[in-house]
């Protein structure tokens, strides 16, 4: 991590706060219209997808229905659910868009998400041992973790995690690794497990039981389409999220260097630990503007469609303070993620010989 004095950190804090305050003062109808338009698009895609699905015996309709439902889930999870739950639209005082009551269209229970993501991940971003999102306690992505033979197969784990991403996210709070280490018992996790089964069961019932059953004669087609839509969403959201923190230049931190940190230090860590990728407006929408992961981590509760507008200002602040602003094309960023997963599956000696750039 870049070394900065407390005075410099406090200046960084002031500079970033100024960007934030400017947006906060300007929140209004434009932001409300934006999110309502997105919600409208989501409803149209979901209703359209579900209505078309039973006619999926016509192949092009099957593709259209599956893609529509997949896009609807992506938009609902990424641009609506994730962002609403961060409190980005709480100021609108609309009960349908309130962070504390919103429940999203995925197996993960919103209360669990608010704890593991909003609190743990956004507070302890990329601190090894504290941010359980770093590798999801499943993948070795830095040399802070000692190599173990089981890591050599972690690319398979990665593919599995991406495929079943909503279930992985849903079970994240289970903390299997801590249960395995004996730090907590299964009993401690019963309340969580109950919530997970309720929400996960609800989602599975909807997509894999109810909608296929009500269209009984074509149940296999509807089931296949719903599985496909969930898969599209799983692969895309997993990919976007991996690009946010596991690219080549995304830094990791130790608990010691973050102990009792100032707000300025927290800002510095968010800037260094996150990475953006470039793309069209549509790509940004589908990523829930997590393509602006840096801006999101610095200002998690500003409406996400504002990130493109403030990006230049954030870059200027980074430049002024000599902080690396991590961005690149989607292909380039995702390439370094895959490389990181692959190279850290190797023992350190071998990795340093093959991929010396992955520190």
């Amino acid at each position: 991590m870049k070394k900065m004095t407390e005075v410099q950190l406090s200046e960084l804090e002031t500079d970033l706060n100024a960007i934030r305050d400017e947006v906060l003062a300007d929140l209004g109808e434009r932001d409300a219209n934006y999110i309502r338009r997105v919600v409208h698009l989501h409803r149209a895609l979901e209703v359209g997808g579900r209505v078309m699905m039973p006619f999926g015996f016509i192949p092009p309709v099957f593709v259209a229905a599956t893609v529509a439902l997949g896009l609807s889930k992506i938009i609902e999870n990424m641009e609506i659910g994730h962002n609403v739950m961060h409190g980005q639209y709480d100021w609108m005082n609309d009960p349908s868009l309130h962070s504390q009551t919103y429940e999203w269209d995925t197996a993960c229970d919103s209360d669990s998400w608010r704890l593991t993501h909003n609190y743990e991940h956004h507070t302890y971003t990329n601190i090894i041992g504290k941010d359980r999102d770093y590798g999801y306690a499943l993948l070795r992505l830095s040399d802070d973790e000692k190599w173990h033979p089981v890591h050599s197969l972690q690319f398979i784990n990665y593919i599995l995690l991406s495929t079943f991403f909503q279930w992985g996210v849903g079970l994240h709070e289970m903390e299997f690794e801590r249960i395995r280490r004996g730090e907590i018992s299964l009993k401690d996790k019963l309340p969580f497990l109950k919530g997970f089964l309720r929400k996960g069961g609800r989602q599975a019932f909807k997509d894999y039981v109810f909608f296929p059953l009500v269209t009984f004669p074509v149940a296999p087609i509807v089931l296949a389409g719903n599985v496909g839509a969930n898969l599209i969403r799983n692969l895309w959201s997993s990919t976007v999220i991996f690009c946010g923190h596991f690219t080549q230049d995304a830094e990791t931190f130790t608990e010691e260097e973050c102990e009792g940190e100032s707000k300025g230090h927290w800002y510095l860590r968010q800037l260094g630990g996150s990475s953006n990728f470039t793309g069209s407006r549509f790509v940004h929408l589908l990523s829930g503007h997590l393509s602006y992961q840096v801006e999101h981590h610095v200002f998690p509760d500003l409406p996400a469609h504002r990130y493109p507008e403030i990006s230049e200002k954030v870059q200027a602040v980074c430049k002024k303070h000599g902080i690396h602003y991590n961005t690149g094309s989607f292909a380039k960023q995702y390439g370094t993620v895959l490389k990181r997963i692959a190279s850290f599956s190797l023992p350190d000696r071998l990795r340093q010989r093959i991929a010396p750039k992955m520190a």
Binding site: E29, R30, N33, D94, R202, K206
Partner: protein, 367 residues
């Protein structure tokens, strides 16, 4: 509450499973709204039919609520919600029309005076246009006319006349068989709301005695006085309805109590949030917002809603005057004082209204 009372039924349960929300019907609102705004399910939509000028600073808004609206009794109020610059604002107003009008032609009226500096009332005066829709809640309130005919006394001030208009209209239509007196205080003659309506009522209904008093047309303000009550036959035994500014309400209550009127025969309805006299020295304390992991200290009679907002939190809120319960939130420990009643809460876990709850010592709320 603005959300409609939801039926507990199999369909309701299924809707929750499919759409992940407590009000599944509202899932389709974004689509329905584009087709016909009157189909919105989240709240009862009401179309603005006409806007009529009453005085220089008061307008009557004629609304057509969607047919599913449950109706009201004369003297009740409703919450309305309006989006202003992206922010949903909830406010409570009395209905000024009689229930018969809703039954006969499906309209209700709100008669609203501009509140100096008020966001919603001024916006409604300046920007609300016929043809648009606003959100309407179900009617509530216990400012109701008696079941059996008995002599009545109304004391109203300014726009406090609105629930009284609804009641007088209803009484007149029912050919009320007991004397009714209205003492209506206005600043000047130009500030009389529904002057024509009151005049018509007086013409057609012999049981009504109308006494409109302008308070600010003489050198010294002309407030309610003993003599006003002396003129009313059997004033002590009448059932009395009060609605108006706090000064008038306090004065009327005092004069009537002196004459031996029992408390349970005096009915008042909100006009502006009545405030209990609080001993500010004992108030304030550290407030912990447990879900956000934020602790702040507070002083004086600031309610927790304002304390939370000062701490950059955005809790849900509605009327901000203790009526609508939109801001209700669980307090896990500590004591709060209700700003309206001056009563202290228990120390344990309970649901409180953030907008009227003032901390008395350290308090923890789930926010």
């Amino acid at each position: 509450m603005l959300s409609r009372t939801e039926r507990t039924s199999a369909l309701q349960w299924l809707g929750k499973q499919l759409f992940n929300r407590e009000d599944p019907a509202a899932f389709f609102d974004p689509l329905l709204e584009r087709i016909n705004p009157m189909w919105v399910q989240q709240h009862t939509p009401a179309r603005v039919e006409r806007i009529e000028d009453e005085t220089a600073d008061t307008k009557t808004f004629v609304l057509s609520p969607a047919k599913r609206w449950a109706g009201f009794q004369a003297g009740q109020h409703v919450n309305i919600c309006i989006d202003i610059d992206g922010v949903r604002c909830n406010r409570t107003f009395s209905l000024s029309s009689a229930p018969a009008q809703w039954h006969n032609n499906g309209t209700v009226t709100l008669t609203i005076k501009r509140l100096p500096g008020g966001l919603v009332t001024n916006w409604m005066h300046d920007h609300l246009e016929p043809g648009t829709t606003i959100g309407l809640g179900e009617a509530f309130g216990d400012f109701l006319i008696p079941d059996a005919a008995e002599p009545l006394l109304y004391i109203a001030g300014g726009s406090g006349i609105t629930p009284v208009l609804s009641q007088l209209d209803t009484l007149a239509a029912a050919d009320y068989q007991a004397p009714v007196t209205l003492l209506y205080f206005v600043r000047t003659q130009a500030d009389i709301i529904a002057a024509q309506k009151l005049h018509e009522l007086k013409q057609t209904w012999t049981g009504l005695t109308l006494n409109i008093i302008a308070t600010n047309e003489s050198e010294t303000p002309r407030y309610l006085k003993e003599a006003d009550l002396d003129d009313i036959t059997g004033v002590e035994t009448r059932r009395c309805y009060l609605c108006g500014p706090k000064g008038l309400m306090d004065l009327a209550t005092e004069l009537l109590t002196q004459r031996g009127m029992a408390e349970d025969r005096m009915h008042s309805t909100f006009f502006a949030a009545p405030q209990a006299a609080l001993d500010t020295d004992s108030l304030g304390g550290d407030v912990r917002f447990s879900n956000s992991d934020i602790s702040v200290s507070s002083e004086g009679d600031a309610p927790i809603l304002e304390i939370a907002e000062a701490a950059k939190l955005s809790p849900r809120y509605g009327c901000r005057m203790g009526i609508c319960h939109q801001c209700s939130c669980k307090k896990t420990n500590g004591t709060v004082v209700n700003r309206l009643t001056g009563k202290s809460s228990g120390p344990g876990e309970e649901t409180i209204q953030l907008c009227v709850s003032v901390p008395q010592g350290p308090v923890t709320v789930e926010l």
